[in-house]
Amino acid sequence: MLRIPCPHCGLRDEPEFIFGGPSGVVRPPDTADDATWTRYLYERENPAGLHWEKWSHAYGCGQWFNVARNTLTHAILASYPLGWPRPDLQGEVA
């Protein structure tokens, strides 16, 4: 079980949250070609190490927010509200 710091409520247990996949997935316009659109629909990175992702504190404040997690150790390196810039985590993850 992860312990996730909600930027609004503080440190809470994983069952209070819903995982929302990677953050920063840009939705193409309807004019995008099939390849671009299906990449947006189905293709996701699966990095070993730093992963930028979004979570919702569904059973708390209900807010979506951003998380930086090390997929190798499950360490949560950062959590910050939607719309905030990504923090510089150079050197935090091997």
Binding site: M1, L2, R3, D13, I18, G20, R27, P28, P29, D30, A32, D34, W37, T38, L41, K54, S56, A58, G62, Q63, W64, T73, H74, A75, I76, L82, G83
Partner: protein
């Protein structure tokens, strides 16, 4: 029977000899003392064979004195409260306890399965995977499961109580031995919040019983001092009888605390979820066995376990004892045996040179050491009678000078392996250390510290742990799963070379003990067989739980009614007192039919549906999802979710809408109502209410934060009462209300706000039955007043409450889509006849782009059609359809079934390949080998023009 038992020493141990305890084993009465475990009491009474082995049904006796026990797994108690596979060394002896051998058929004494031992090839690894496959595995499964297996789970409901709770601390210390107590005192005096978990009933680990002669720092006296100082610290919580069973991310550790009483009212086990800032593992080490022929007989013990029985429980392992070891530790047992007056014939030490200090100590107690010797075989059936010791030859491959020694106990020590299950679960890596023959920690895990024997840095070199000769199919590596060295050889011969593959092929280490006394010896043996260094082999993954825990402990109090929250309709009690048959739909308990005396459920549904078609029905539709969207961009926001154009919606008007996922697949359908330009009401299906709410919220926050909207879920605040049927208007108009119900003022697909019976009401004209329908929403807490008034007002017309069965019949006749029943994870709007609407909408919406992907514009997609039966008794949902002369295995399937209320003729909805082109043609219906013909029709069987619902 004397409480002392024939193997009980006259004095010594931590037992209370003034408190005798009576218990039974396989029906026979025995005596023990307070402080005994089931295993120590059985041994004191001279009970040698306590179980039959897993595959070969060989007699097995107590082997260890702890959680690692692979043999003495017994059933405690009978009936619903029986505990299967309890490990006798950790079962506290209580008055009246009744234990049973759980293997052996027909009985443990006379076990026909013993014959299997005579043909061990039958049970070689993978044998049954290769053999019992004709005609199929299930032919043999029953017999094999009866012959093999570990006990039986009670089938009745567990009467015991279990609890769960949460705890927080700065430091969690696992293990209450000297190392754990020292760590707790250190952190505790700094003022940190400490939890110390010890699985035993007493603190101190082996220092609690090993006596003071070892060294001062780990004597029982030292333990008492540590405990006294710890108990004075208010910030230190000590939990005994508590096992840390699982280590999760971020130092979340699950503890299982066993209740100390066996009374029914008491809690049998507590599950504690501990969130710690850091964790200290003081989990000690587990002694490992030696491998030689027939190393599994009752009377063979791990040496330190025998020492614990001797010193802690005052039980002698035997009268004539032989000790075999590959390291120094077993000599402490020899000392204690001699001190207790037990005869020790000799010590076989697999090392060629034994330290001088030990040789001196052994001379003092008059015990001979045979250096370079190892047991090569044993004899005796239900109890050990003799051991053959042999001298390992110079090059280590042969044996010379084998000598038989009569004895009734053989104590073995194959070195010590740190108990690092939790470290491994926390992500720690282990490495094989050749000197100690053990898996030791390799890397640091942040926030995790290992102390004491679990982090042993002792660099003394152990001797060989296996006999170089013998019959490998008689050398047991894993006692619990009956895996022999021959099984490992076979696995390698068949090219299962990775330890993980060997584990799965042989089931080594896969049983209740998770290989606590077998993994290390297996790695050692495999390395030898393959001619590689053990470190190259790696090791098998160690998963939670560290020791088996009852399913009841995981469930805790969340059983029965508390298993899942249940939601009751506002009119729940009324439904219950009017014959409602309830079923669960998601969390909601909903009436499927109101069954009258002498009626079947199907008859009741038919009667209810008939009432709705000819007069009126009243339906509790309260679970329909209801959301209020507020804000200047409310309509723009909602429009982006539906394939239907909502921007032209006028205040007071309602529009049907279909919602897609981004993939273009149907997600939900419902209605959208414009209350005011900045206030939109969204209604979803009952089953999807929560999901749609979360879906809209995610898009609002993550994709469209610029839109000025707020979403308020109000599903539970409003009760929804649907009055449907030709008499609906008449019945509703009889209630005191201020809404103009005339068809011109209040047409189909309109909504009016007003007062009904003085209550604030939102009244919709929307229909899921095909009949004239008023869907009246009023505050949930007062809704029963409206419901009863409507039932009374409609009495003269014959209004009837209708359940979901009737509603589904009514909508099927009308051909209304039921998302999730008629659609699946491949259905796009065009498949269900909404393709033109979806294509015509100019504005973008979720899923729009996906509708033109190649897969979605194919002309042979499945499409929703109706079926009518010609010579069909009844349609069966899920039946497959084939078009005439089709070359395909299937051309679709039936999704919804029922009958025309007027004629009883079977009808169905189906997804059929290019279905709309097939209308008027015949298809073949296939169901489990039966075939029938059916005619394809449009997906509506009643009033296609909608005259009735528009009335």
């Amino acid at each position: 029977m004397s409480a002392a038992g024939p193997h009980r020493l006259p004095a010594g141990g931590l037992i209370d000899r003034n408190r005798p305890i009576q218990f039974r084993f396989d029906g026979k009465a025995y005596g023990g003392f307070a402080g005994d475990t089931l295993a120590s009491a059985l041994l004191a009474n001279g009970v040698r064979s306590v179980a039959r082995s897993f595959k070969f049904h060989r007699p097995r006796g107590v082997f260890t004195c702890g959680i690692e026990e692979p043999n003495a797994l017994l059933r405690i108690g009978s009936g619903s409260g029986a505990i299967p596979s309890a490990r006798a060394p950790v079962v506290e002896l209580t008055d009246g306890l009744s234990a049973f051998t759980q293997s052996g058929w027909p009985s443990s004494g006379f076990d026909v399965g013993r014959l299997l031992d005579l043909v061990p090839a039958l049970w070689a690894a993978g044998f049954y995977n290769k053999t019992f496959k004709w005609p199929r595995w299930h032919t043999y499964e029953g017999l094999i499961r009866r012959m093999a297996g570990l006990g039986r789970t009670p089938e009745e409901r567990d009467p015991d109580r279990y609890e769960a709770g949460n705890r927080h601390c700065d430091v969690l210390i696992v293990g209450g031995g000297v190392a754990g107590l020292t760590a707790a005192l250190e952190a505790g005096t700094e003022g940190l919040r400490i939890i110390l978990a010890e699985q035993d009933t007493v603190l101190g680990g082996w220092a609690a019983w090993a006596g003071a002669e070892v060294t001062d720092s780990i004597s029982a006296g030292r333990v008492a001092v540590l405990c006294a100082r710890l108990r004075r610290l208010p910030n230190v919580t000590i939990l005994t009888r508590t096992t840390a069973v699982a280590y999760y991310d971020h130092h979340v550790v699950a503890l299982v605390e066993r209740g100390s009483q066996s009374s029914v009212a008491a809690v049998r086990e507590n599950l504690w979820v501990v969130r710690a800032k850091r964790v200290v593992l003081a989990t000690g080490a587990l002694e490992q066995p030696l491998l030689f022929d027939n190393n599994d007989r009752p009377g063979i013990f791990l040496a330190a376990s025998a020492r614990q029985y001797l010193r802690r429980y005052g039980v002698a392992p035997g009268r004539t004892v032989i000790v075999a070891t590959n390291n120094d530790s077993a000599y402490a047992t020899v000392n204690d045996l001699r001190a207790a007056g037990v005869e020790v014939t000799c010590v076989a030490d697999t090392r060629r040179s034994v330290p001088e200090s030990i040789r001196t100590a052994m001379r003092a107690v008059n015990v001979a050491i045979v250096p370079g010797a190892i047991p090569v075989d044993t004899s005796g059936f239900a109890a050990l009678r003799a051991v053959t010791l042999g001298q390992v030859s110079e090059e280590g491959r042969g044996i010379s000078g084998a000598v038989d020694y009569a004895c009734d106990a053989l104590l073995v020590s194959g070195g010590w392996n740190p108990a690092l299950h939790l470290y491994a679960q926390a992500g720690g890596k282990l490495g094989f250390d050749t000197a100690s023959g053990a898996l030791r920690p390799v890397n640091a895990v942040a926030g995790l510290e290992i102390v004491g024997a679990a982090n042993a840095t002792d660099d003394s070199v152990i001797g060989s742990r296996s006999s170089p000769v013998g019959r490998t199919h008689r050398q047991w590596v894993d006692l619990l799963h009956d895996v022999t060295v021959a099984d490992l050889e076979l696995a390698l011969r068949e090219n299962f070379t990775s330890v993980e593959h060997v584990k799965r092929y042989t089931t080594l280490g896969m049983s209740a003990d998770q290989g606590k006394t077998s993994t290390v010896a297996a790695i050692d043996t495999l390395a030898k067989l393959r001619g590689v260094h053990p470190a190259e082999l790696g090791y098998t993954t160690q998963r939670p739980p560290v020791t088996p825990i009852a399913l009841g402990t995981i469930a805790g109090r969340e059983i029965g009614e508390r298993f899942a929250p249940s939601r009751r309709l506002p009119m729940h009690d009324w439904h219950g007192s009017h014959g409602a048959l309830f079923q669960d739909f998601g969390e909601w308990r909903r009436p499927v039919a109101y069954v009258r005396q002498g009626e079947s459920r199907e008859q009741a549904a038919g009667r209810e549906a008939g009432a709705a078609r000819t007069a009126a029905g009243i339906f509790d539709a309260s679970p329909l999802g209801k959301f209020e969207i507020h804000g200047p961009d409310a309509l723009e926001f909602v429009d982006r979710f539906y394939i239907n154009n909502l921007r032209t919606l006028q205040p007071g008007r309602v529009r049907y809408g279909i919602m897609l996922r981004e993939s273009g697949i149907l997600f939900d359908d419902g209605t959208v109502t414009l209350l005011a330009p900045d206030h939109v009401l969204v209604s979803t299906t009952s089953g999807n209410a929560t999901r749609v709410g979360a879906w809209m919220e995610e898009w609002r926050q993550c994709e469209w934060p610029e839109l000025r909207v707020a979403i308020m879920p109000t599903t539970e605040q409003w009760a929804t009462i649907s009055v449907t049927g030709p008499e609906a208007r008449l019945i509703v108009s009889r209630l005191d209300n201020n809404i103009d119900l005339s068809p011109d003022a209040f047409p189909h697909l309109a909504m009016r706000e007003g007062k009904v019976l003085g209550m604030s009401a939102r009244v919709y004209r929307i229909s899921f039955t095909g009949e004239l329908t008023y869907e009246i929403n009023v505050p949930a807490e007062a809704a029963i007043r409206l419901w009863e008034a409507l039932v009374q007002a409609g009495e003269s017309e014959g209004i009837q409450p209708i359940g979901l069965d009737a509603l589904m019949q009514l909508r099927l006749e009308k051909g209304f889509l039921h998302v999730g029943t008629d659609t699946d994870g491949t259905t796009i709007p065009d498949d269900v006849g909404w393709g033109k609407v979806a294509a015509a909408k100019e504005a973008s919406y979720i899923g729009k782009r996906s509708l033109t992907l190649p897969e979605h514009v194919r002309t042979d997609r499945l499409q929703l059609v109706g079926l009518t039966g010609t010579g069909v008794g009844a349609f069966i949902a899920g039946s497959h359809l084939r078009l005439p002369d089709s070359a395909r295995a299937t051309d679709g399937w039936i999704t919804s079934v029922g009958r025309l209320l007027s004629s009883g003729q079977p009808i169905a909805l189906a997804m059929l390949r290019a279905g709309r082109e097939q209308v008027g043609k015949e298809v073949t219906v296939h169901d489990c080998g039966n075939t029938a013909r059916a005619e394809v029709s449009p997906a509506s069987f009643l009033d296609p023009a909608g005259k009735k619902m528009n009335a």
